[in-house]
């Protein structure tokens, strides 16, 4: 008896089911940990998935969590679809946050309708700038962008640490945080008595623009061609390097906007832990989405739900909130596994051994 593995792609109708199957498999796998933590898995998953949807406050909190994730997910999707593996959305987010903290104190004299767009443009430019070096190294010298973008994530944290403990240290409190941004640069609330701010609209528009570029613009077709078949794209006349560079920079810019949203919409000043890994979660979201902007929206909301649910679970059942991270990571691994496995048919062969 043995396993026979053939390369047979799964039928088309299976594809949309993949994320759902991945979720189910993930919950089965993580159930072990939940039990170990001393909770009932079914109850835990109720708190994970259902409970957050049952109160107004937690539903709005899901939207707050999803706001940066929509942007980092869109950013990573954009780069990945061109075959540029941008692992640096986290760093680019922080670069945007630095720009927002700076512009937020500088643009106080302007009215909101001018200041807020300038903040966004500034954050976009900062994210782009942070993405520029690895992108140039990649297209000019073939330096692996996975390594360079990843390492720059750490570098930006040190830059921020320097700023917050040096020139930008809050003169009033002495805490390592930048001065509060001006009132006119604050992202206004969309919904009263909540933390949902205008960044959600910005994120939604960005996602629509990303969808539009990827499916309707010549750049999008070039990006997809370069990402899906670099040699063939080059043969057909696509300037793969220029396309990748464009995708990498726009990706960095989008991630930068996420940083602006966190400073101007949530914290109102720059602090060190402004992102609990939104940039990395963006990679999970992009992967779960199958590099489809609509999928990004769904995946970002879903991860927002799990994040919120993790808080609920830990409060209700006393299990660590880190369980949410475990679920996310396991979800990424199962989804990747599913994407690979969908191309194969595995059958159990009885009796006669294989030829």
């Amino acid at each position: 008896m043995g396993l026979k593995i053939e390369r047979v792609p799964a039928p088309v109708w299976v594809r949309p089911l993949i994320p759902i199957i991945a979720v189910v498999v993930t919950f089965i796998l993580t159930a072990v940990l939940v039990v170990w933590a001393g909770a009932n898995p079914l109850e835990a998953y109720y708190h994970f998935l259902i409970a957050p949807l049952s109160s107004r406050m937690s539903v709005l909190e899901i939207l707050v969590k999803a706001t940066p994730l929509l942007l980092t997910g869109a950013a990573v999707t954009f780069a990945f679809s061109s075959g540029y593996w941008n692992i640096g959305a986290e760093g680019q987010l922080y670069a945007g946050a630095v720009a927002a903290a700076w512009l937020g104190t500088l643009l106080g004299g302007l009215p909101s309708f001018a200041a807020i767009p300038l903040m966004i443009v500034g954050g976009f430019a900062a994210g782009m700038l942070w993405a520029l070096t690895p992108a140039l190294l990649r297209v000019k010298l073939s330096v692996d962008e996975v390594v360079t973008t990843l390492l720059l994530n750490t570098v930006v944290l040190f830059v921020i640490s320097f700023l917050l403990n040096g020139p930008w240290r809050d003169p009033v409190s002495g805490w390592p945080q930048s001065p509060q941004i001006a009132e006119s640069t604050v992202f206004f609330k969309l919904i009263p008595r909540s933390r949902v701010h205008v960044g959600l609209i910005v994120a939604a528009i960005t996602l629509i623009v990303v969808w539009f570029i990827m499916s309707r613009a010549a750049l999008g077709l070039r990006m997809r061609a370069a990402g899906l078949g670099q040699n063939a794209a080059r043969f057909a006349g696509v300037n793969v390097e220029r396309t990748m560079l464009a995708a990498a920079l726009i990706s960095g810019g989008i991630a930068g906007i996420a940083g602006v949203g966190e400073v101007a919409g949530i914290h109102f000043h720059l602090i060190e832990g402004i992102s609990p890994g939104y940039g990395y979660t963006g990679i999970i979201i992009a992967t779960l989405s199958g590099l489809d902007p609509l999928g990004v929206a769904l995946a970002a909301l879903f991860i927002g739900l799990i994040d919120t649910g993790a808080q609920t679970v830990s409060r209700a059942l006393g299990v660590p909130a880190y369980l949410g991270d475990v679920v996310q990571a396991a979800l990424l691994l199962t989804t990747l596994g599913m994407f690979v496995l969908q191309n194969y048919r595995v059958t159990l062969v009885r009796g006669e051994k294989r030829a």
Partner: protein, 506 residues
């Protein structure tokens, strides 16, 4: 161990791959202590025969006798057990390990590994065979020639008495070839037998005692070196009945539309793959580039497609210098390109319509936005015109080889290019698709385009070309009119035994 019975006999070996008869009742024998060449064109069945001997393939019928005993060789392990070792063109060494570690890898001894003892054993054994290798060197620091020596030594270390070398010189520079031959002669004097797969006549004549020629899967004969000439071997290798066929309607040919002059191109490893290659293709003719694979055809195709930048030389299309043009500039200048590997010409995950538009994207774009309607209409038109069995929205990877090739033809030819570069245009296609593709190429010639046909299929070259240029080691060694080509001359040119002094003229 079997006491020094290492002569091999293969009797009536037949092997089919689907409809393809790769080996057809082949007889082959190897005497103890001889270097025996296996000579033939690409696809003549040399490698298949040796893979059967080494247990990588199973013959459909026929038998193998090793040292007088009928042998059942089901895997390379069986072959090694019978004292047969094979060195392929693709080395199976771990670059980050030392020579000793590579040689010892997979040897019996379980988990216990004594580095000192292993090193000593390897050093002693290398000294015994007279093979110069440094047991402590990391394989990644070795040159290709040295790596090959390690591969050969690996086989010897496993007690091989018969060595199969599959085109061992293809990866070597001339100096390394000399060293290899020296090694082989030394091994021969120790009583080893060597099977030397090659298609280079001078090498075969330099190092072998007997030569078996394969042609189209059959043994064309075995001869002693002392009793043959390069001319005879060339004839045996290439001989076929399609020679001297005059193409109907000798056409008046026009001006040279494609001029390649002194092209110097480096391959991926930085070695010169094209060494000052020159030829012209005139309006209304098909120039066929004939040659054994690996003599620069791939690099020539890529240089003419704009995907590999020449280091020196010129490429002119209709008088315009396009030496450093990008693929899109070449397409815009009227060069229709058919790539060597069709999967490198289309993006499999994109649709047929998207692939058909990709090369001339500016025609399907307004203000940076795609005009999806024009992309679809273009696809519908070309699908009908080129009889492609697909819908515009089909992912192109789902197409059969023939339909995919038709899509590539459609894209390359729809804008009536003045120069057509077709590399291996019918490789892997069925008869119907092959006829279709060849017909389309002749159509281009008839409407006055200059067609360059780069093919390793000599029958295709003979069937389509008005003139034939032979490429050998990155240079054109002769250009002849199709009517003048005969087996002996082509065989000599293709195997590097002859160069036409006036070769570059027509």
């Amino acid at each position: 161990m079997i006491p020094l019975m290492h002569a091999i006999e293969m009797r009536s070996v037949t092997k089919r791959f689907g409809a393809l008869l790769a080996n057809d009742n082949v007889n082959f024998d190897l005497a103890p202590g001889e270097i025996h060449a296996l000579l033939g064109e690409n696809g003549a069945g040399k490698t298949t025969l040796m893979r059967i001997l080494y247990g990588l393939y199973r013959a459909d019928s026929g038998e193998i006798v090793v040292g007088g005993q009928p042998a059942h060789i089901a895997s390379p392990k069986d072959a090694i057990g019978l004292g047969i070792g094979m060195v392929t063109q693709h080395f199976t060494l771990v670059p980050t390990l030392t020579v000793t570690e590579n040689v010892s890898l997979g040897q019996a001894g379980g988990l216990a590994f004594d580095p000192k003892a292993a090193r000593q054993k390897v050093a002693d054994s290398a000294a015994r065979f007279g093979i110069e290798i440094n047991p402590d060197a990391l394989v990644r620091h070795l040159s290709v020639g040295e790596r090959q020596r390690v591969e050969i030594f690996k086989a010897l270390y496993r007690n091989a008495r018969v060595l199969i070398l599959d085109e061992p010189t293809a990866v070597l520079v001339p100096q390394e070839v000399d060293v290899l031959f020296e090694t082989l002669r030394r091994l021969q004097s120790e009583g080893l037998s060597v099977i030397f797969i090659s298609h280079k006549l001078n090498e075969v004549m330099a190092v072998c005692q007997r030569i078996t020629v394969l042609r189209g899967g059959r043994a064309a004969g075995t001869v002693n070196k002392s009793a043959t000439t390069q001319k005879e071997l060339a004839r045996m290798m290439v001989g076929r009945e399609t020679f001297g066929v005059t193409k109907e309607g000798a056409r008046a040919q026009g001006e040279p539309l494609l001029r390649v002059d002194g092209l110097l191109v480096l391959d991926k490893k930085g070695w010169p793959a094209l060494k000052g290659l020159s030829f012209d293709v005139r309006a209304g003719e098909v120039l066929g580039i004939a040659g054994v694979s690996g003599n620069g055809q791939t690099e020539l195709t890529q240089a003419l497609a704009g995907t590999l930048k020449p280091k020196a030389g010129n490429l002119r299309v209709g008088g315009r210098n396009l030496t450093h043009a990008s693929p899109s500039q070449l397409a815009a200048a009227g060069v229709g390109r058919i790539p060597e590997d069709r999967h490198e010409g289309v993006v499999g995950e994109l649709t047929v319509a998207e692939n058909l538009a990709l090369e001339n994207l500016q025609d399907f774009t307004a203000n940076g936005m795609l005009d999806h309607r024009r992309i679809r209409e273009n696809a519908e038109k070309l699908i009908a015109e080129y009889q492609i069995k697909a819908a515009p929205t089909t992912r192109i990877r789902a197409l059969s080889g023939g339909n995919m090739q038709k899509a590539i033809l459609a894209r390359a030819l729809s804008r009536k290019p003045q120069v057509v570069i077709a590399a291996q245009p019918t490789r892997g296609l069925d008869v119907g698709a092959t006829d279709y593709v060849r017909g389309k190429l002749l159509e281009q010639r008839d409407r006055g385009a200059a067609v360059l046909l780069i093919s390793e299929d000599l029958d295709e070259i003979l069937a389509l070309s008005d003139r034939i240029a032979v490429i050998y080691e990155g240079r054109i060694v002769g250009i002849l009119r199709a009517g003048e080509a005969d087996a002996e001359l082509l065989g000599l040119l293709m195997s590097g035994a002859k160069e036409m002094a006036d070769g570059i003229k027509d």
